[in-house]
């Protein structure tokens, strides 16, 4: 197991401090009396401002790694450091605060609440932050404008296209102003045109300094990253 250091994808990223430091991370599951090893000793460092893609076969541990990075899951052994926080050792409340402030999530299925408008869905991401109503409203408006949906704020998800729904999900993730945006197959449910729109949006956010980690099967997405990782049989390597 060799430590994978970031490739010098950009001058800014190379000069920045690491946002993630994973050491000998193992994650095992018990499934029907079988022990599944999703991550088999991952060492990885990701610096602030990087755009990293993670590829690999289905069942290779990509989503597990993403959940570890998003403080949604803990390793069976090893250390996952997000800034100063060790995900393996932090309390559930601390992990909740990390997710609320440091990490933004974008899912393949958008995961919007169908009964709430675009504005309200974005607002849901700010719920854990103790902001005033005015602050929240201004952040929501700003995030929707950033993803180009200022005019569709009062639309329900069902009234939006797939690409627009994913933009709302991205707005929900960035409204909290996180340090890192984690995206699990963000273009998996979109056609080529919409995929490009979303990628342009994500690239723009990255250019503004947001660390971007994207799990994808799509080589077109991977090609636009600064750094490409492949996760196979629980082990990660640079491509």
């Amino acid at each position: 197991m060799s430590m994978i250091h970031p490739a010098p994808a950009s001058v800014d990223a190379a000069a920045s401090s690491p946002i993630y430091a994973l050491q000998a991370v193992i994650r095992e599951y018990q499934q029907k009396n079988r022990k599944i090893r999703a991550l088999a000793g991952v060492d990885l460092e990701i610096r602030e401002g990087e755009f990293v893609t993670i590829q690999g076969p289905t069942g290779g541990g990509k989503s597990t790694l993403l959940q570890m990075l998003g403080a949604l899951d803990r390793p069976t052994s090893g250390a996952v450091k997000l800034g100063d926080v060790d995900v393996a050792k932090a309390s559930n409340a601390k992990l909740g605060r990390v997710r609320a402030t440091e990490v933004g999530f974008v899912f393949q299925g958008f995961n919007l609440i169908p009964t709430l408008t675009a504005h309200e869905n974005v607002d849901m991401g700010l719920e854990p932050l103790a902001l005033t109503g005015a602050d929240r409203a201004s952040r929501v408006t700003e995030a929707l404008a950033q993803v180009g949906l200022a005019e569709r704020a009062d639309h329900l998800p069902g009234e939006l296209s797939g690409g627009q729904q994913q933009r709302v999900a991205i707005a929900r993730a960035i409204a909290k102003r996180p340090r890192v945006l984690l995206a699990d197959e963000p273009t998996g449910n979109l056609d080529e045109h919409m995929r490009d729109e979303i990628l342009e949006l994500l690239e723009g956010l990255n250019r503004d300094g947001l660390t971007l980690i994207v799990v994808t099967h799509d080589s077109a997405v991977a090609r636009r990253a600064h750094r490409r990782l492949r996760l196979e049989k629980g082990s990660v390597r640079e491509i």
Partner: protein
């Protein structure tokens, strides 16, 4: 945002919200109606008791039941000269005032003894009697004495049918001898004078009476008339009605206690002492003290007396207490089970939603609060509908105002022992009963409304607790993985 999310979720799951709310509504409506009916029946029982024992009577003291052969009272006796003979028919009529059959009596001094005890606010004695009038027509007996059976071979003539036959009739009414100077406790405390006047202290020793309004109407008795009580003409000075518009008074005729004792030949005795305690918490102590200090008496409290109220009122009470309560509990349990199941299934269906919320930083407490809040609101909607249905049900019951008959039985228990009904009391009947028709009202109390709201909130909280517990156990990673 909390309320917006909650409102949209409930509106988005109309079917589930309606089923849970309606289930709780039916249960809450049942609880409200059953409770109101129970209160109504309790009121009716109190009303029935009040008509018999008066307002404010906490205890009654009665003598031990008489042995068979005792207390039979006077007999009807006709000598050869009795009656008036006209056209071969002899008419006889005789009234007797008797103590109730097998009813023990107490010495009149018992009233003073009881009144002097600690914790007794007032005590009043009464003598419960039955006036029986024997009216008969028979052939002229002088014909029979002249001939003798088998001698002349001619059948007797005369009598009501003109062929030697006879006809007899028995009329009875209940008489209560009361102390006219002390009517604050006892049966006359629950009456009001509708015509004439009430008995006063000056009436002691006088042949005067007040008559129950229903009895007076039935027998066409008015103030100023005289009635035959125990063979004496007694002047009616007043007509009284029960303060409860739905019940008759305790007896048909009320006369001064000393007059009753004299006419019945029962000097210095009473059948019942009505006792009022100084306070409700003194009742048990007073009961014990009377039992300890006065020999051979039965002391009954209101709860003992309540058990003597029978007939359809008792059936209604039993029906509501048993069937109504259990039905309410059953429906409430089913409604709660439905609410819990729907909430849990809702959480399961929303696994991805809650996983996402946890992923974007929502705490467990916030997610649980959301689930519980939705359940409580469903419960409150059910509570509001249930309250409306329940109040409508109570309104319908009060509109119909069903009449329930109650019978206060005093067999072996004591009490005034008024005769009622066609047979009258004390003439061969073991049980002394007073029949009263009581209109059943279902009162709406603040407690009923509070109970409905309480059940609604509790139902919502219980369902929310299960749903919240389920939501809290969801690991965000597992939740997202399971639907990924």
């Amino acid at each position: 945002m909390y309320w917006t999310y909650l409102r949209r979720e409930l509106a988005g799951r109309k079917k589930q919200t309606i089923i849970v709310a309606v289930g709780l509504a039916v249960a809450i409506a049942l609880v409200i109606v059953v409770n109101a009916l129970s209160a109504g029946v309790r009121d009716a029982q109190a009303q029935a008791l009040e008509s018999v024992y008066g307002v404010g009577t906490d205890l009654t003291v009665t003598g031990a039941a008489a042995e068979p052969g005792e207390g039979g009272g006077q007999r009807f006796e006709f000598d050869s000269e009795a009656g008036q003979t006209e056209d071969g028919t002899t008419s006889v009529s005789q009234s007797r005032l008797t103590a109730d059959f097998m009813r023990g009596t107490l010495g009149a001094s018992t009233v003073e003894s009881v009144a002097s005890l600690d914790g007794v606010a007032a005590a009043s004695g009464a003598l419960s009697l039955t006036n029986i009038t024997f009216i008969g027509e028979m052939p002229d007996r002088s014909q029979m004495q002249q001939g003798g059976p088998g001698e002349s071979g001619e059948p007797p003539s005369g009598g009501p049918d003109g062929a030697g036959g006879s006809a007899f009739d028995l009329n009875s009414f209940t008489v209560l001898g009361i102390d006219p100077d002390d009517t604050a406790v006892g049966p006359l405390s629950a009456v009001e004078v509708s015509e004439g006047r009430a008995l006063t202290a000056d009436d002691a020793g006088e042949l005067v009476a007040v008559v129950d309004a229903t009895y007076a109407t039935t027998n066409e008795i008015a103030v100023g008339d005289t009635i035959d009580v125990g063979g004496s003409d007694v002047e009616v000075v007043g007509i009284i009605t029960s303060t409860s518009s739905d019940a008759d008074t305790a007896a048909n005729v009320y006369i001064p206690l000393d007059v009753a004792q004299s006419l019945a030949g029962l000097e210095d005795v009473v059948s019942t002492v009505y006792v009022q305690a100084t306070s409700a918490d003194q009742i048990e102590a007073v009961q014990a003290e009377i039992e300890g200090s006065v020999a051979d008496v039965t002391v009954s409290s209101q709860s003992d007396l309540a058990s003597t109220v029978s007939s359809s009122l008792s059936s209604a009470s039993s029906l509501i207490t048993n069937l109504g309560t259990w039905l309410s509990i059953l429906v409430l349990a089913v409604a709660l089970a439905l609410a819990v199941l729907f909430t849990i299934s809702g959480v399961t269906r929303r696994t991805r939603e809650f996983g996402t919320l946890k992923a974007i930083g929502w705490s467990n407490g916030r997610v649980v609060g959301q689930v519980a809040g939705e359940s409580v609101i469903q419960g409150l909607i059910g509570g509001a509908i249930g309250l409306a249905i329940g109040l409508a049900g109570i309104g319908i019951i009060n509109l119909i105002s069903p009449t329930i008959s109650s019978t206060s039985s005093t067999t072996g228990q004591g009490g005034p022992g008024q005769g009622g009904g066609p047979m009258g009391g004390g003439f061969g009947g073991m049980a002394q009963q007073t029949a009263t028709d009581v209109v059943l009202h279902a009162p709406v109390t603040l407690w009923v409304v509070a109970a409905a709201v309480g059940i609604a909130i509790a139902g919502g909280l219980i369902a929310g607790a299960f749903g919240g517990w389920r939501a809290a156990r969801l690991s965000p990673a597992e939740a997202l993985r399971s639907v990924g």
